[in-house]
């Protein structure tokens, strides 16, 4: 039984020896290379795009502009208040952000393609750019939205006005979160090869190959079976690669004009920072009313998400605003809630899915108002959370946005996190004493910050209804095939960008059927192999694809044992499979092997009992219908260097309810990695545009991701309350990102009384705050 154990990952050997197969490694012959000419102006009419000089360059084979590719992505949603807009494959008539692709050069190698891209001569007629979602609109980004608002929705429950009037205290916070880049270490990459005018193979570092096939088939007016999408090894995704980009569409359209020749585009990091999807550029105005005892009575929220220049395909501009409004209240009981969310288009790169989608920002906001409420009421930050957390007895808990929480294990996570706090031999109470000692006797101040959150994972068809897109993501398919010699092949719709699904699914199938882990091969990421999968997003794969693998393995096991029962004249109910051997109840000796049975199923059909179909294979779809909420809590202990404003993390504890753990090492890796991204977003990472729409942080010298020098040791804890799905698992991919902005901001306030209203929490921001208090440098 390998489920629940740490095993050597199947991925590791090839990745550690340089034998990984990434899209950028692909060499086909003949192959030509693509470079894009990108707008250097944030908002302008395109007067002329002159390609003649580029075309004259030796080695350049073709140059395309928007006029040559009459295709556009149009992300759809049936939500009232949503304005549909087009995102052209290459800009047509107008550019809307710095970095938008407006021409593409095809050449014999990437160097020549980039030379050519520089020679495309563009005449811009500038329009007034706007990069701030709360700024005054002079020239709208899209004609169909004169106020730049592409989505607007109100979430409402109860009577907020009355509840606020009746509150003992009302606190208000105005909060701004920082624009992030997902920044997987492998940038985007696409190779397209048309066999003829109607048959296309696309290699893409995508998280969603089946969706890409579906979307390309629609765009290119082809049957889906004519398109094969392959996602080989993919170097991180984090949501950024769950999008179909205009560049992908352009490459496929251009390659169609030259069947038999592969077109390859490998994005560089500067392009990635300018034109891959961004996230988390939000403003929140929050009013919260509390009773004397700290009970949260009402929340009024006004949220503005800067969604960038286009509606990201296929998720729409709703992805962040709807998530923000739908899950703002997190794990806290609340009846009276009113949240206005709006998604405002600006002359910046489109915002899209990024690990945690909106909730690192909403958890920051929610925890900030709890901390403010605690201070106003004179109760502790820990107690105000204890007072309001959804408890197991409340389950199923209907949140004010009508989502149904199936967890309730928040207090247990929180108390366990407090129990695990430790620094230099001091526990939580010891650190509180040390904090007071330093207040009294001097020394750098210590602060402790909290965050408790819920992560909606593994969304089934009902839980993913909110955005009202033309498709509903709820299920995954998995085929489990027992081969003629008894080994097992799994064909799954999952994709992996580092999450180790090749390993985890093999564990599920090996453990379920009763064969060795090494006897199971998992294949994924190729639409010609697996039947269907929505892919990697929303912490869904262990829950949904794991469930499909389990049910498919159970079905094929049943078939194998039924055949074995006939062949060995036993009762199928008495048979089990262990390590490839067929065991009969009451006997320590195997009566046969899976290999013997499989051989009959494929190669000796003459021995098949009447009515048995040859072969041993099963395909099952699984849809959890609802989702699995995963509870999480984080506590951070920091020290602030008064003379510099520098913040040092002394301890960071994260406790999550992972449900049943399939592989402890992989689960810890997911939590640790998401914590590091959360810390990066809280302290360092910030995409900054100037007022003209130029990205000032367009290299990794300017966009700072944490390294091993900035990342502290983590203290991780786990709860394992099984979820209501076949494997009992809850998703763990994103929760870690939700806490750090909230905990670190809370800890700064706890340490020095400085309310952090704007992220990231830089030393300069702390130092300025201390200076205003008159306390810096002392």
């Amino acid at each position: 039984m390998t489920i629940g154990q740490t095993v050597t990952r199947k991925e590791d050997h090839r990745l550690l020896t340089g034998r990984g197969r990434f899209v950028s490694d692909l060499q086909l012959s003949p192959m030509r290379h693509v470079a894009f000419t990108r707008s250097i102006v944030a908002h302008a009419h395109l007067a002329t795009v002159d390609t003649s000089e580029a075309l004259a360059l030796p080695g350049v084979r073709a140059v395309f502009t928007g006029a040559d590719i009459p295709l556009a992505l149009r992300a759809q949603s049936a939500l009232p208040g949503y304005v549909e807009t087009d995102q052209p494959a290459l800009a047509v008539g107008k550019v809307r952000f710095v970095g938008e692709a407006l021409a593409a050069v095809i050449a014999d190698n990437r160097y020549l393609a980039e030379d050519g891209a520089e020679l495309v001569d563009v005449d811009y007629s500038p329009l007034q750019p706007l990069v701030d979602a709360t700024g005054v609109v002079i020239d709208p980004v899209h004609d169909d939205a004169p106020d730049n608002i592409l989505i607007r929705r109100i979430f409402e429950n109860g009577d907020v006005d009355t509840a606020l009037e009746q509150s003992a205290v009302v606190v208000r916070r105005d909060l701004t979160t920082n624009r992030h880049a997902g920044n997987p270490m492998e940038c985007r990459a696409t190779v397209a090869l048309w066999e003829d005018h109607r048959n296309l193979t696309v290699w893409s570092g995508t998280q969603v190959p089946h969706l890409v096939r579906n979307m390309l088939a629609e765009q290119l007016d082809l049957p889906e079976g004519n398109i094969r999408v392959i996602a080989p090894d993919v170097g991180g995704g984090f949501g950024v690669k769950a999008v179909l980009y205009p560049e992908d569409l352009a490459i496929c359209a251009m390659a169609r004009t030259m069947p038999g020749t592969a077109l390859k585009w490998v994005e560089d990091r500067v392009e990635h920072l300018h034109a891959a999807s961004h996230a988390r550029d939000h403003r929140y105005e929050v009013e919260a009313g509390f009773a004397d005892d700290g009970e949260l009575l009402a929340l009024r929220v006004d949220a503005t998400c800067n969604v960038g220049a286009y509606s990201v395909y296929p998720w729409t501009v709703g992805i962040e605003p709807l998530m923000a409004g739908g899950l703002f209240t997190g794990p806290y009981r609340l009846e009276h809630y009113r949240c206005l969310v709006r998604g405002v288009t600006t002359n910046t790169s489109p915002s899209g899915p990024y690990r945690g989608v909106a909730r690192p920002a909403t958890v920051f906001a929610m925890e900030a108002v709890l901390d403010s409420g605690a201070r106003a009421l004179g109760i502790s930050g820990a107690d105000i959370r204890r007072r309001n957390l959804i408890a197991p007895d409340d389950i199923p808990y209907r949140m004010p946005t009508r989502l149904v929480d199936d967890s309730g294990h928040y207090l247990e996570c929180f108390e366990k996190a407090l129990d695990l706090v430790e620094h230099n031999g001091l526990d939580y109470d010891g650190l509180r004493a040390e904090q007071q000692k330093r207040v009294a006797h001097g020394g750098n101040p210590i602060g402790i910050g909290f965050a408790v959150y819920n992560e909606l994972t593994g969304l089934g068809r009902a839980a993913s209804a909110g955005p009202r897109m033309p498709f509903r993501t709820g299920h995954e398919a998995c085929t489990v095939r027992i081969n003629p010699e008894g080994s097992v092949t799994v064909l799954s719709g999952v994709t992996s960008q580092g999450q180790g699904l090749e390993t985890t699914l093999a564990q599920v199938v090996a453990g379920t059927i009763g064969v060795g882990f090494d006897d199971v091969q998992v294949r994924y990421g190729d639409t010609n192999e697996s039947l269907w999968g929505f892919g990697a997003f929303s912490s869904r794969q262990a829950v949904i694809a794991g469930g499909a693998a389990l049910q498919s393995a159970e079905a094929v096991l049943e078939k194998a044992l039924a055949l074995a029962a006939e062949l060995y004249e036993a009762n199928a109910d008495d048979l089990t499979l262990t390590n490839g051997n067929i065991m009969v109840a009451g006997s320590p000796q195997p009566i046969g092997t899976l290999a013997d049975v499989a051989r009959v199923a494929y190669l000796e059909s003459n021995r098949l009992p009447a009515g048995f179909e040859p072969g041993l294979e099963s395909t099952r779809f699984y849809d959890p219908v609802m989702g699995a909420f995963a509870a999480g809590a984080q506590v951070v202990v920091i020290e602030i260097e008064r003379s510099t404003g520098e913040l040092k993390i002394l301890d960071l504890v994260c406790v999550e309810d992972s449900g049943r753990i399939l592989n402890p090492q992989i689960v810890e890796g997911q939590v640790a990695g998401s914590l590091a991204q959360g810390i990066g977003g809280a302290l360092y990472e910030h995409l900054v545009y100037d007022d003209d729409g130029n990205l000032k942080t367009g290299t990794l010298l300017d966009y700072l991701m944490p390294t091993s020098a900035e990342t502290p040791e983590f203290t991780l804890g786990h709860l394992t309350h099984h979820a209501d799905n076949p494997l009992g698992v809850r998703g763990v991919g994103e929760g870690g990102t939700l806490g750090p902005a909230a905990t670190l901001a809370g800890a700064v306030a706890d340490a020095v009384g400085l309310e952090i209203d704007e992220l990231p929490i830089t030393p300069a921001r702390i130092w300025d705050g201390l200076a205003q208090q008159g306390g810096a440098g002392t």
Partner: protein, 160 residues
């Protein structure tokens, strides 16, 4: 221009334009695609290879600058009998990789660290490995990996 160097002990000769980077020469001319390009401006470290035993960003070095040098890449670490280098083994044991894209550069930086400092402290590991960015692991498992490899190598040295 014709450039000759040795890669993982084998003599190689490539014909490249002067502007071709060492990374592109390794990947495109020699098919050594284990060396990855993460930023192409010298920050992320994914393309790290050893040039005459020194770690180098192969995205910033031109192939012609490596003339007559001895290069080591990720492809050269595995033993002839197919067993993994102690660092490769440790990265697997400690889950020091997830997507594996930064991993070749990470491992080559660690090779240099252990060659110059066979018994580093965790803080020293953190300092040296901060030359490379990983977006997946949160780094602690990478520090664990380098620490384990150092211990394993120390044990091997004592056995000798």
């Amino acid at each position: 221009m014709r450039v000759e160097f040795t890669v993982n002990g084998s003599a190689e000769s490539v014909e490249v334009e002067p502007r071709v980077t060492l990374a592109d020469a390794l990947r495109e001319e020699l098919g050594l695609t284990g060396t990855h390009l993460g930023c192409e401006h010298g920050v992320c470290g994914a393309c790290t290879v050893l040039v005459d035993e020194q770690p180098v960003r192969s995205c910033l070095m031109l192939a012609v600058q490596a003339r007559n040098a001895s290069l080591q890449t990720i492809e050269g670490l595995e033993r002839e009998n197919g067993s993994l280098h102690p660092l490769q083994q440790a990265f697997s044991d400690c889950h020091g990789l997830q997507c594996g894209f930064c991993t070749p550069g990470m491992v080559m930086t660690a090779v240099h660290l252990l060659a110059t400092n066979p018994d580093p402290t965790r803080d020293e590991i953190r300092a040296e490995m901060s030359a490379n960015i990983c977006r997946c692991t949160g780094y602690n498992s990478i520090v664990d990996s380098v620490e384990q490899a150092a211990t394993a190598r120390g044990a091997l040295a004592r056995d000798d």
